[in-house]
Subunit: 114 residues, 2 copies
DNA sequence: ACAATATGCAAGCATTTACTTGCATGTCAA
DNA sequence: TTGACATGCAAGTAAATGCTTGCATATTGT
C-alpha cells in the first residue's frame, strides 16, 4: 500500500501531535467551537500566529484536524477518528481481559448503529 | 494537593512517553510478557542498555510502568491505568454525542463491576 | 485600484530530546 | 572473597522541536 512511502507511522504522528500542551489546547478549543479560522484560534493563545500555524500543521499531518478554505479564511475542523484508533490500539489492547468483553460488545453495537 | 509542585501535567508526561516508537515498542514487549528485567528488554532492541534505561525512566514517570527489585534485577510491569485515563479525557470526550450514551452506560456497568 | 485583512513561507535561535561512551555501585555464585 | 553480572550515574553530542521575526501572497471591501 502507501505505507512504503511513509517514514513515520500514523501512531508516531498522532502521539507526537498530542504530546504538546498547546496543540491539545487547540483541540479543546475546536471541540468547544468547531470550524474556527486561524485568526480566531490565535486569540486567547499566548503565541504568535506562526506558532499556532505550525502546531495546526502537525495536527493536520496527524489527521486530527481538517481544513477548508473559504475565501482568504482557513476553517479548521476537528476529526475525532484518529483518537478512536488510539483507543483501539493503545487502550483497548491493554485493558484487563475481564473488561474486554464489555468493550467488544459495545463496539459491535456501535458498528451496527453506524 | 500535590499538583502545585508539578511543572508538567499528567497528560504531558503520558503523551510524551507514548510519542516515541521505541517506548511504544517497550510497552508492547511488556504486554507480551510482563515483569521482564532491563536486560531482557534490551534484547531484540537496537539500542544500548542506557538508552533503554532512559526510555523506561520516562515510562515510569508517566506511571505506565512500575518496577520491582529482585536482588540485582529490576523487574518491569505494565500499568494500563493511565491509558484508560487517556480514553476518558481524549477519546470519549471527542466522540460523537450519539455514541456517548452507550459509553456512559458501559462505564457505569464497569464501575459497578469493579 | 488600493488599503486592510488573512494567511503562507523561510531562515534563525534556544531548548529539549535521543543516544552514546565511560565509569561506579551493588549483588550473586563459585 | 573475588570475578562475573545487572544496573545506575554523569557528561557529551547530534538531531529534533518550539518559537520568533521578516517578508511574500492572495482576498476582501470601499
Amino acid at each position: 500500500m502507501l505505507a512504503y512511502c511513509l517514514q513515520v507511522s500514523d501512531a508516531d504522528l498522532l502521539f507526537k501531535a498530542l504530546a504538546d500542551p498547546g496543540r491539545r489546547k487547540l483541540l479543546d478549543r475546536l471541540h468547544a467551537h468547531d470550524g474556527q479560522t486561524l485568526g480566531e484560534l490565535c486569540q486567547h493563545l499566548d503565541m504568535t500566529r506562526q506558532g499556532v500555524t505550525q502546531h495546526l500543521a502537525l495536527l493536520e499531518a496527524a489527521n486530527l484536524v481538517a481544513v477548508q478554505w473559504r475565501g482568504r479564511e482557513k476553517l479548521h475542523f476537528l476529526n475525532p477518528v484518529p483518537m478512536q484508533e488510539i483507543y483501539e490500539r493503545w487502550v483497548r489492547k491493554f485493558e484487563k481481559p475481564r473488561l474486554k468483553a464489555l468493550h467488544d460488545l459495545k463496539r459491535r453495537l456501535e458498528d451496527g448503529d453506524d
